[in-house]
């Protein structure tokens, strides 16, 4: 068995907010052309018909205000460029038009095409170049946060494409329920930043199973003492607020929150794991964004296995039903472990249903029931059962790396 998988005891997922792949990692094509980011061939028309190219002019804060629309109808416009015909094809030509709808300002609407230069994001770009970056990780739904985060916890959004509360649990259990009720029992925890930031989407779990939750300080303590659960889901800080520690700056990177604060947070999670040598060799950390937040990306989302649910034309707001049979816009995703070769690029297709899918298969093996979307989603960690396909195993090194980066956080 590959030693990376043999040693793996902990999977940690850090889910950030609302940034597209091209916006955050698009600059890396210039470093490694195999990373499918921004090129000079790309553009979007503005409302005057002029073509707007992506430019490395993104700012940490103050640029994407108002928050770009990323509800279902707006994302439909972004992906299909306004084409509503039955046989339409995704062309990713409606981002500038969509942002124009919010302020009716042509100049401002062009900012949706801006991306970060590599040196602006030393944490995210370093991790992408040092470990495994996913060229085809998509949001689960062409829609907003809540329904997309649901896929990370349940493998489905139970038919929702919006921000409404999910009344769930049957028939598809959360990944946490599956783990803590398994035989043998597994451990699992959701770490929100603090009680003033709390959890996003899974209020349902919070009000019924608060024992599943901990704070970010507890995450840091659990890393230090070697008490990290088998599976952890980490949430960033969603708001600027006061605390006993002083001023807490939102670290979720949701526009218009400061992107550098998110960089610090990502580095802090990475460092907490890396500082404990035992934990570092036995942990895989996935950094992923919940959805693109209305920001430009050039890769058309592919079709996927339909879920067993259907959203009505009224629910989608587009006049068309949605069978959960295509993915949302592409987002940044990076898998981190000292067993991953430097510069790994993954071209297989993933979405957030891959998260419970991977954790379930790795820790529990066969499990049912799971949603059709989760069952068909690819896994980013191979189940540690013979035979492991070396072409698919990302934790493939025979010996652990000793050249992994450190950040001054």
């Amino acid at each position: 068995m590959p030693p990376g998988l043999d040693n793996l005891r902990h999977i940690v997922v850090l889910m950030m907010e609302n940034r597209s792949f091209d916006h955050m990692l698009g600059s890396l094509t210039a470093v490694n052309p195999q990373i499918d980011g921004v090129t000079n061939q790309l553009s979007n028309p503005d409302t005057t018909g002029a073509l707007v190219k992506p430019q490395a002019l993104a700012e940490f804060q103050g640029q994407l205000d108002p928050d770009p629309d990323h509800h279902f109808p707006a994302v439909d416009l972004q992906i299909f460029g306004g084409d509503t015909s039955p046989n339409r094809v995704a062309n990713m030509q409606g981002f500038v038009k969509s942002y124009f709808n919010q302020q009716k300002d042509v100049g401002h609407s062009q900012k949706i095409m801006y991306y970060f230069a590599q040196n602006q994001l030393p944490v995210l770009t370093t991790l992408a170049l040092e470990f495994a970056v996913f060229n085809r990780w998509f949001a689960s739904i062409p829609g907003p946060t809540i329904c997309n985060r649901a896929f990370a916890h349940y493998g489905t959004s139970f038919g929702r494409v919006d921000m409404n509360l999910l009344y769930v649990n049957e028939p598809f259990k959360s990944i946490y329920d599956r783990l803590i009720n398994a035989t043998p029992k597994h451990t699992s925890k959701l770490y929100y930043y603090d009680t003033a930031s709390s959890t996003m989407e899974i209020t349902n779990l919070l009000q019924n199973q608060p024992e599943l939750f901990g704070t970010y300080q507890q995450f840091l303590d659990d890393c230090k003492t070697g008490n990290l659960p088998d599976y952890s889901f980490v949430e960033p800080n969603y708001s600027d607020h006061d605390s006993d520690n002083g001023e807490e700056v939102a670290s979720d990177q949701h526009p218009d929150h400061n992107v550098q604060a998110g960089e610090l947070f990502i580095a802090s999670v990475y460092k907490a794991i890396k500082q404990n040598a035992n934990l570092w060799q036995s942990t895989a950390l996935l950094v992923v964004y919940d959805e693109h937040g209305g920001i430009y990306d050039h890769v058309a989302p592919p079709a996927c296995t339909p879920d067993q649910f259907q959203a009505s034309p009224n629910d989608t707001g587009t006049g068309m039903p949605f069978a959960f049979d295509r993915l949302g816009v592409r987002v940044p995703a990076i898998l981190i472990s000292p067993w991953i070769p430097k510069g790994t690029i993954v071209n297989r297709v993933f979405d957030h249903a891959s998260i419970p899918g991977t954790v379930t298969k790795f820790l529990l093996g066969d499990y049912s029931p799971r949603s059709p979307r989760e069952t068909s989603a690819d896994v980013f960690i191979e189940p540690n059962a013979a035979p492991v396909d070396p072409a698919r195993n990302l934790l493939s090194l025979d010996t652990m790396r000793t050249d992994c980066p450190d950040f001054d956080v």
Partner: protein, 103 residues
């Protein structure tokens, strides 16, 4: 590999920033949970009047802590009643056996 410097954000903290759609939905979700709490643990905050991130954070904190408190109270109560039940059995007085009559 050299230590990589991570720049710190400058002047980023703005607790008076108007809440975004995400925080609004979080507040609505927590409000639904709040309505199921015992009345004495409810905040009495009118959520439609929450406008800034600082106000949102204060509400989110109060409800999150109240949810934990409600569950902790229920757990403690359960434990107490378990002790009471167990205690009853243990402290049950034995009836003094009647002296045997010599036959």
């Amino acid at each position: 590999m050299a230590l990589i410097h991570v720049p710190r954000p400058q002047n980023a903290w703005n607790p008076n920033r108007p809440i975004n759609a995400l925080l609004k939905s979080q507040i609505v979700h927590l409000h639904e949970a709040e309505l199921k709490l015992p009345v004495m643990l409810q905040t009495g905050i009118y959520i439609n009047a929450i406008k800034t991130e600082s106000e949102a954070a204060d509400y989110v904190r109060q409800v999150t802590e109240a949810i934990h408190a409600a569950h902790q109270a229920a757990t403690a109560k359960r434990a107490r009643s378990r002790v009471r039940r167990t205690g009853k059995v243990r402290t049950k007085k034995k009836r003094p056996s009647k002296p045997r009559r010599e036959t």
